[in-house]
């Protein structure tokens, strides 16, 4: 039997080139791919939404979002993804699917999405201008504050969009979770949309 060596690689490994893109000078947008995260989809079983909520509160210490919001816990972010369902986003295996299975055994179905999605962080003075070309969601600060979430579409691709904590200096940070196989396409679209502002491109191991 053949021996295989599996190596986890980012779906953006080919498309992401860590150098300035578009107009030269000070970049108006920073596009950062966040790599190596744990992402678990938690979906209540039929009629078990309140049991799931109780289990989540007991485990995380805070209530899981029941409206389009993202909630920070000590070592994870809980992101609304639809009625009676949410994502658990974390790093370093602290909230992996394996550790969550016993918590939700009686109330919810779990699905490991760690390698199924790509996480792109968009920040900078022109972040909203770039996103306005891709999305019809109102990202005005009062309409889309820190912690706001939208399950929506960009460039005909389903995404989960949420606003993370502001970067130092108070600049807004938007996070986009996109299906891995659509990530390269959406990435190229983001590059096209942001070229006129100048883009700083990179990848990071740190969750924003």
């Amino acid at each position: 039997m053949a021996e295989f060596s599996w190596e986890a690689r980012s779906p953006l490994e080919r498309a992401l080139v860590s150098e300035p893109y578009g107009v030269q000078g000070e970049a108006g947008v920073a596009l950062t791919e966040i790599r190596n995260f744990d992402l678990v989809q938690v979906m209540a079983r039929r009629g078990k939404a309140s049991e799931m909520a109780t289990a989540a509160k007991g485990h995380f210490g805070v209530a899981a979002p029941e409206t389009p919001k993202a909630v920070r816990t000590a070592d994870a972010t809980l992101i609304w993804s639809g009625p009676d369902q949410f994502f658990v986003l974390s790093k370093g295996g602290r909230q992996s699917v394996k550790s969550l299975v016993p918590i939700f055994a009686a109330s919810a179905s779990l699905s490991d999405q760690s390698h199924a999605r790509v996480l792109i962080s968009i920040s900078g003075d022109k972040a909203r201008a770039l996103l306005a070309k891709l999305s019809s969601i109102d990202l005005y600060p009062a309409a889309f504050p820190v912690g706001a979430v939208a399950a929506t579409s960009m460039d005909h691709t389903s995404v989960t969009l949420w606003r993370g904590n502001d970067a130092p200096g108070g600049r807004a940070v938007f996070n986009v979770l996109v299906f891995a196989t659509f990530a390269e396409s959406l990435w190229q679209t983001m590059l096209d949309s942001g070229a006129e502002y100048g883009i700083e491109i990179g990848h990071s191991e740190e969750l924003a």
């Binding site: 389009p68 929506t152 579409s153």
Partner: protein
């Protein structure tokens, strides 16, 4: 045209997929051939308010029951379809 998803709020038409008339109900297992034929093939051609099933596939992936006027596209109500999640979060 925009649809106000009870879970997500107001969204553009492109996020939704149209299934069709929400009125037909699957006949009981012992139903006559005519009843099954009616359920599968026969549809009313409504001019006015019509209940329809829509799918918010580009968003929260919930099934919705939308009442739309086929003459004006005016939408008078949007509710989660049965089994689409218990909580209605946006009024």
């Amino acid at each position: 045209m925009r649809i106000t998803c009870p879970f997500c709020g107001e969204r553009e038409l492109g996020e939704f997929t149209y299934l069709g008339d929400a009125k037909p109900v699957r006949p009981a297992p012992g139903a006559s051939q005519d009843e099954v034929y009616d359920y599968v093939y026969l549809r009313d051609n409504v001019a006015g308010a019509m209940e329809e099933n829509w799918y918010h596939g580009g968003g929260c992936r919930a099934w919705l029951r939308v009442t739309r006027n086929t003459l004006t596209h005016e939408i008078s109500s949007v509710e989660p379809a049965a089994g689409a999640g218990a909580r209605q979060v946006v009024k």
